[in-house]
Amino acid sequence: MPYIPHTDDDVAAMLAVIGVDSTAELFDEIPDGLLIDALPGIPAALTEAGITRLMRARAGRDGGAVSFLGAGAYEHYIPAAVWDIANRGEFYSAYTPYQAEASQGTLQLIYEFQTMMTGLTGLDVSNASLYDGASAFAEACLMAVRVNRKSKSRRMLVSRGVNPVYRAVARAIGGGQGIELVELPLDPAGRTDFDALTKFDGEAFAAVCLAQPTFLGTIEEADAITDWAHAHDMLVISICNPTGLALLRPPGEWGETGADIACGEGQPLGIPVSSGGPYFGYMVCRKPLLRQMPGRIVGRTVDIEGRPGFTLTLQAREQHIRRSKATSNICTNQGLMVTAATIYLSLLGAEGLRRTALQCHANTNLLAGKLAQLEGVSVAFDTYFHEAVIRFDRPVAALVDALGERGILAGYDLSEHYPELGNALLVCATDARTHEDIDAYVAATRSALDRSQAA
């Protein structure tokens, strides 16, 4: 019986102590009509060997392609030590650190994580994680509404440069509390249009929201937008790629006083793309706002002997105490992923992360440059971090299919969400891609374009 340790003797002894003849009697309070006696819809049990064969077969049908996909999930090299340590049973099978004395490992790790995130973003206080970047953005919108007392608005000005799925999730999660998203257009350089922003002068919004880099890979000039937002009683929410933060000016240094809430997707920090999850969302805010920040927070204190120690703090904001007036309903977050990210950041350090960022930028530059030499192909925007928009003279879907047949995931087709860009593909060449991979991509593209030209 998998994972049930009881012997017949155990069962007999236990039933005797309880004073019943069989385990069936233990369910005698359940109304008769509700009890079922079998689960026909569930297959019979497999052994470890059996499930191993099954999963290997299933896995064998997947993958096997070289990926140039980004669009919110990024493949980076992950040092071996990261998951070796994160998979230790003491991290993997530990519970939420409510009993602080039995959880100093997890608590100290989260404190170190919080410190690293404040360093990366340049803001003051980090939480212990949210579910993912998209839901973190939704929570940031809700937080901005709670915090912004000057403006009673529940409207957010959100750049078109923010990941379209993040905007959809913010609507789905924030809609129940009346959150409304109004779009800010992009300029010809693929960045938030400052002139368009200024046209909202006189209207009330809780916050202006920018992604850095944008979903299209471009790099925002955030200072003017930040100052304008603050001058008009709006908060600033940033959604930053954390690898990019090793290189780019962090949101804490935007404009005169910096962004107010920084959130985003932590997956690039030591977490494989893993078919879409689990990832983790991060959130960091300026100190005056911290009581409205959702999620757990770890604080450093001392014990009764004066020894330093760590504990969950400011829990009065959370669901288990504040209940209907909690800042959010979040309980379980993404603890194990934070563990991996903290180890990853410790191994790479600032210099390692910066070099990774630069390598990604260089690889994407190389790919974009070579593609632009093909007829009918151009690079849409001049300045980008590690993703570039490549324009073609024909719909990209067929091209993506053709490269797929050659074992290459060509990139993200932008025609659904950004039709104004024409036949456009978002490509990403990270540190995980080699020059050979890039050359193969270019050759496959040339071949596919020639072929369809000839057809």
Binding site: M1, Y3, D10, I18, I30, P31, G33, I36, P40, G41, A44, E48, L54, A59, G60, D62, L69, A73, A81, I85, E90, F91, Y95, E101, A102, S103, Q104, G105, Y111, T115, V125, S135, L142, V165, A168, I219, V273, G276, G277, I297, T313, L314, Q319, I321, S324, C331, T332, M337, I343, L345, S346, L348, E351, G352, R354, L358, Q359, H361, N365, Y412
Partner: protein, 489 residues
């Protein structure tokens, strides 16, 4: 035993370079967009990282090392094979936006997981996307609201919640723009039906219930509760936190629930990870199927799987995550369910309930004050230490700390709030009788000590890496990030 904060180990210029990029490539980004100073991150060697985090792990309690009878958390063994197979490289390396043709293995697992979840709950449709129980609750209440709105029934904005409910329930009601209306629990542990009849009406969107309840007993009048709420036009939401007690024995659908969430990190043994990631998949009956959060796995033809999105479910409440939820966690749950099989699932509830009732009787016989001791325990039960607190001044909190010294993680304390000085104890099915006996012996020992040497109990823990922590200071003198200067020598 304590471990310095990793920044204290930093030395300027120290690197762990084996995986790092060798040469610094040139870039074409304007200077004005770049940061001036590098972020403060550790500067340590790989060996220092390995030692530091390994030692940190050794400061933790975990299921792998200690018994964790946390009520409502279902801290059962997390099988290693689930982790190993979920981390097969093809699953880990697959980009979520990659071609579905190269994801059929993963999608087939997800489809089968959906089917199995239907088969254990009696629901007709499942969405795997919510990333934790709380997100599942959000999805459930949002679907209930969407259902009423679709019927032009716009007055319904009250969610009924028992006073013993988990805090996420009323918090979720608020997140969905509803008001939480509390009803009391009766003295025998069942929801107060008269109170329920008084609060239902045209403003009732629905009720959120756990069954067995957070008091550790089965809600015997559940069919009547369903009847009352449905007649008033409301829907029923099942908080699946306690599903372990009835897995394979009762279908939530049969109890009258319209929507449920299942905590895969509880019932289906995915790892707790020090606070997540979890998964709060939702199941619905036909009434709500159109509103499920997307994406969902569909099947076209015998052997081909696809994602169903907003196009396929135009009334969906939308997306709750950037991709499709905690994929790796879903894989672990799938593997666990295949290992249990149809008989194994029924054994889960059988032995979880056996262990709880046995431990409960041991403590009743030892003279502890057990709530609802005349009723059957589900997979958990409550001990009230109010009497002992009155007699000795030793509280549930003191018991919890004293248990740590004896090598046990404490049970859930002070929840549900209805029972004073309570311990909510859930042994789960993966513990041996000997472990349960040892735990009972530890509680008896602490009680004895409370009577003879209460100061010693109050001094617990003594053997953990830290003594009791000053959490008032933690909240008043906020130290939430390391501020020290890195060493330069």
């Amino acid at each position: 035993m304590s471990e310095p904060v990793i920044f204290e180990l930093s030395r300027a210029g120290r690197r762990a370079p084996t995986h790092a990029v060798a040469e610094v490539p040139a870039h074409t980004i304007p200077e004005a967009l770049l940061r001036d100073a590098p972020p403060v991150l550790p500067e340590v060697s790989e060996l220092q990282v390995v030692r530091h985090f390994t030692r940190l792990s050794q400061l933790n309690f975990s299921i792998d090392t200690e018994f964790y009878p946390l009520g409502s958390c279902t801290m059962k063994y997390n099988p290693k094979i689930c982790n190993r197979l979920a981390m097969l490289p093809e699953f880990l390396e697959r980009h979520p936006l990659g071609d579905v043709e190269r994801g059929q293995g993963f999608l087939e697992c997800m489809f089968e997981l959906q089917e199995m979840l239907k088969a254990v709950t009696g629901m007709t449709a499942i969405s795997l996307t919510p990333m934790a129980g709380a997100q599942g609750e959000f999805a459930g209440v949002a679907m209930i609201r969407a259902y009423h709105a679709a019927r032009q029934d716009h007055e319904r904005c009250e969610i009924i919640v028992p006073d013993a409910a988990h805090g996420t329930n009323p918090a979720t009601a608020t997140m969905c723009g509803c008001t939480a209306v509390e009803i009391p629990t009766g003295p025998d542990g069942d929801v107060d039906l008269d109170a329920l009849r008084r609060v239902v009406g045209p403003r009732t969107a629905g009720i959120m219930l756990t069954n067995p309840s957070t008091l550790g007993v089965f809600e015997r009048h559940i069919t009547e509760v369903a009847e009352i709420v449905h007649s008033a036009g409301g829907l029923l939401y099942y908080d699946g936190a306690n599903l372990n007690a009835i897995l394979g024995r009762v279908f939530p659908a049969d109890m009258g629930f319209d929507v449920i969430h299942v905590n895969l990190h509880k019932t289906f043994s995915t790892p707790h990870g020090g606070g997540g990631p979890g998964s709060g998949v939702v199941g619905v009956n036909d009434r709500l199927a159109a509103f499920l959060p997307v994406p969902i796995v569909g099947r076209t033809g015998a052997d081909r799987f696809v994602w169903l999105t907003e196009q396929d479910l135009p009334q969906s409440i939308g997306r709750l995550s950037a991709f499709m939820g905690n994929a790796g966690i879903l894989l672990r749950a799938y593997i666990y369910m295949r290992l249990l099989g149809r008989d194994g699932m029924r054994r889960v509830s059988e032995y979880a309930t056996l262990n709880a009732n046995y431990l409960m009787q041991q403590l009743v016989k030892a003279g502890f004050d057990v709530a609802f001791s005349e009723r059957r325990a589900s997979h958990e039960f409550i001990v009230s230490l109010k009497g002992i607190a009155g007699e000795t001044g030793i509280t549930a909190m003191d018991f919890a700390k004293a248990l740590l010294d004896r090598g046990f993680h404490a049970p859930t304390t002070y929840f549900p709030a209805l029972v004073a000085e309570c311990l909510l104890i859930e042994p789960t099915e993966t513990e041996t009788r000997q472990d349960l006996d040892a735990f009972a012996a530890a509680l008896i020992d602490i009680r004895d000590q409370a009577r003879t040497d209460p100061d010693e109990v109050r001094a617990a823990p003594r053997t953990m890496p830290v003594r009791r922590l000053d959490d008032v200071r933690a909240a008043r003198q906020l130290d939430l990030a390391w501020q020290g200067e890195p060493e330069s020598s």
